[in-house]
């Protein structure tokens, strides 16, 4: 094994102990034998049990392991040595993903082999496709969990929580029913005006997103292993996601070409805004990040400044781009009930509100000793988007409620004015906080 990827080999030493290698097939055999004995439709039950076990191992247990793979290293104080090692980002990506989940792949592939061997009769889709779907869903879930773990480690959350745990719950809720639905779904899926076999489409989609998840882990590890990158991949993913979601968008009453453009603009705005929020909360952001970018720009090092730029700034800029394009190009009816003349104005208050929320987050993260930035921001957002407007509306004070939550869809013009005031206030507070922390305090005197 001396020529093996060192990270993969280390994980194999830890995960594939002789005891575990022996225990997994025995346990699987016992479980499947139990199902076979107690069920009436023997082969179909065996196939379902194998699919469920495969899913459990690859989509639930595997992500827990990959999610914790970096967090455990940070906790165990071994991560710095890994960061200084000669292992490249690709080797580290595969070493972590395949290695940390090697035991679950060992069991999962055995379960999928049983699924393929028994070839159930009652299923709409071939067992090969179901097995392939479980496998690629496993890669997607494991990649996503590893990304979440890397993000938690970078934000210093490794001592507090295991990201794998909550992610597993989310995946169970989202992936579980989808897989169940797919084994019976027969209706073709419409996407960008074309119809596709549902199973093939979902399989291709999950495989695509699995590829993105693995690529995301690679890019994240580039940062950890001091391989400099500019945020082009994030922009590319934003466009991919926009195009993917826009493919499902249907707006009745408009010809196909216009519908495609409208869908792309509306989805681009919403996707980029969502990704901005996700990255804002996932990345390490603070006054030092701003300071680094400022120093690079001041020295004319544009590429280095781009390398220092957090991804959320790219998401924010793309949201601005889609806002501008939307304001210029969106047709009447793009937002359903919004009056014809006002439809093009809808993106602007949405962008201003995003800007306000970013400023609120930065206000907390620009503190000299930032603490619980994410929690504090979430509370403020809950107050602004939910609690106060709801209370005011309950008290029949709708005009006041509109001042707290601008009616972007009902009255875009009014919403622009209100959102602009919100943004100006939040930006003012953020600027005030930034100026206070900007000049580094003199070095500590002991």
């Amino acid at each position: 094994m001396s020529g093996l990827n060192p990270e993969l080999r280390r994980n194999l030493w830890l995960e594939l102990t002789p005891h575990r290698l022996l225990a997994m097939p025995l346990l699987l055999a016992l479980l499947l034998a139990l199902v076979y004995v107690v069920s009436t439709d023997k082969l179909d039950s065996l196939a379902i049990a194998a699919a469920v076990i495969g899913c459990g191992l690859l989509v639930v247990w595997g992500p827990r392991n990959t999610g914790d793979s970096v967090i455990e290293e940070v906790r165990g104080r071994t991560w710095d040595a890994q960061r200084m090692s000669a292992i490249g980002p690709w080797a580290m990506t595969w070493g972590k993903l395949l290695g940390a989940a090697s035991f679950t792949w060992y069991g999962g592939l055995m379960a999928l082999a049983v699924l393929l061997a028994v070839t159930p009769r009652g299923w709409v889709h071939s067992s090969i496709k179901v097995a392939a779907l479980i496998a690629v869903a496993g890669v997607l879930a494991q990649g996503a969990a590893c990304l979440a773990g890397l993000s938690a480690a970078r934000k210093g959350l490794s001592q507090r929580a295991s990201t794998g745990a909550w992610l597993v719950v989310v995946l169970l809720v989202l992936v579980g029913p989808s897989v169940g639905f797919l084994t019976t779904a027969q209706q073709p899926m419409a996407w960008w005006g074309e119809r596709y076999d549902a199973m093939n489409f979902v399989l291709a989609s999950v495989a695509c997103f699995a590829g993105w998840a693995v690529f995301g882990v690679y890019r994240s590890l580039c940062g950890e292993l001091q391989v400099r990158t500019t945020p082009w991949a994030f922009a590319l993913f934003a466009f991919f996601l926009t195009a993917y979601i826009a493919g499902f968008w249907t707006v009745p009453g408009i010809d196909l070409a216009l519908r495609g453009r409208t869908a792309f603009l509306v989805c681009g705005l919403l996707v980029c805004a969502t990704l901005t929020y996700v990255e804002l909360f996932a990345e390490r952001t603070g006054v030092i990040v701003v300071r680094r970018v400022q120093v690079r720009l001041a020295r004319g090092e544009l590429r280095r400044a781009l390398e220092e730029l957090p991804c959320w700034t790219v998401g924010f800029a793309l949201t601005g781009l889609f806002c501008a394009l939307g304001t210029a190009l969106l047709p009447a009816g793009a937002f359903g009930g919004v009056p014809t003349r006002s439809a093009a104005l809808v993106p602007l208050p949405l962008f201003l509100l995003l800007g306000r929320d970013v400023c609120i987050f930065l206000f907390f993260s620009f503190a000299r000793q930032p603490r619980r930035v994410e929690g504090a921001t979430l509370i403020y957002l809950a107050v602004l988007y939910g609690i106060v407007p709801w209370l005011l509306k309950a008290a029949d004070l709708n005009d006041f409620a509109d001042l707290v939550l601008p009616p972007a869809f009902d009255a875009p013009g009014k919403a622009i004015a209100v959102a602009a005031v919100h943004f100006a206030i939040a930006a003012g507070f953020m600027g005030w906080r930034l100026r206070g922390t900007w000049r580094a305090a003199p070095p500590q005197q002991d």
Binding site: R10, I288, R368
Partner: protein
Amino acid sequence: MPGPAIVVEGLSFEYPGLRALDEVSFGVERGSVTALVGPNGAGKTTLLRCLAGLDQPLLGRVEVAGIDVLEEPRRAHRKMGLLADFYGLYDALTVRQCLAHASAANGVPGGEIEATVQRAAERLEIADKLDARAGELSRGQRQRVAIGQALAHGPEVLLLDEPASGLDPEARVSLASLFKRLQAEGVTLIVSSHILAELDAYATHMLVLRAGRMIENRAVREAAPRLRRLRIELAEPHPAMRARIGGFDGAVILDAGERTATVDLAGGAAEQAGLLAHLVAGGLRVCGFGEVHEDLQTSYLRTVREEGAAR
């Protein structure tokens, strides 16, 4: 002739609202052992992490073994090893696996890993522990394994942050002898520690940080000393003492009475023996004749005092 092992120029590092390193510049000679000293919060760990390329400074340049750490951190890592203050081991792996992983991860070719592991184990006196799990080792043994991991790829520079913290006296002595051996092999060491007495056993240079600024970087003991400071004491006073010492080639009297003298002598042990023979031949009854060291603690306190007075 190879340049310095480490060159640091204008290094600044900031935490929110705090400049942890403020335009720090210094050079470190190859084959030296530099004691990195300073009070808590002086920026020692931050400096070591910047040298290791683990943290990116705001400004400045760091060069290790001729490689720009900020421009080519991964290439620079091939030339250095780091033992952090809270080093970690994979507790479930055996010592052999830990060392093999560190070797492979640091680019040692597959065919050489076993030999590298064996060599590291013998060098660190843990050969009998190769098949023990890292989690079962004592703190001193764990630390040796961690140093073995940091040295696996044969780095030219080794950075150590509080290496003796938590070790018993026996383990500390053993650690000091290890550092001396590494220095003899040509490895450049930077050792951060609070325990100045321990550093005194092996440090050749002292780099003092205070409040993020470097206030001193000088040799405390040369690897091959060119000048020895000697203290001479006679059993009974002799009026010709000063003249007799002054007549020896290479001796410079710093102070001398009829019974005691302090002398700087150019050269090594042979010259020192020569001076002793010269004094005895002159009828001086020498009862004390030895080299005088200013220990690191005294040196550090004097530096801090002088820096305080200069402010």
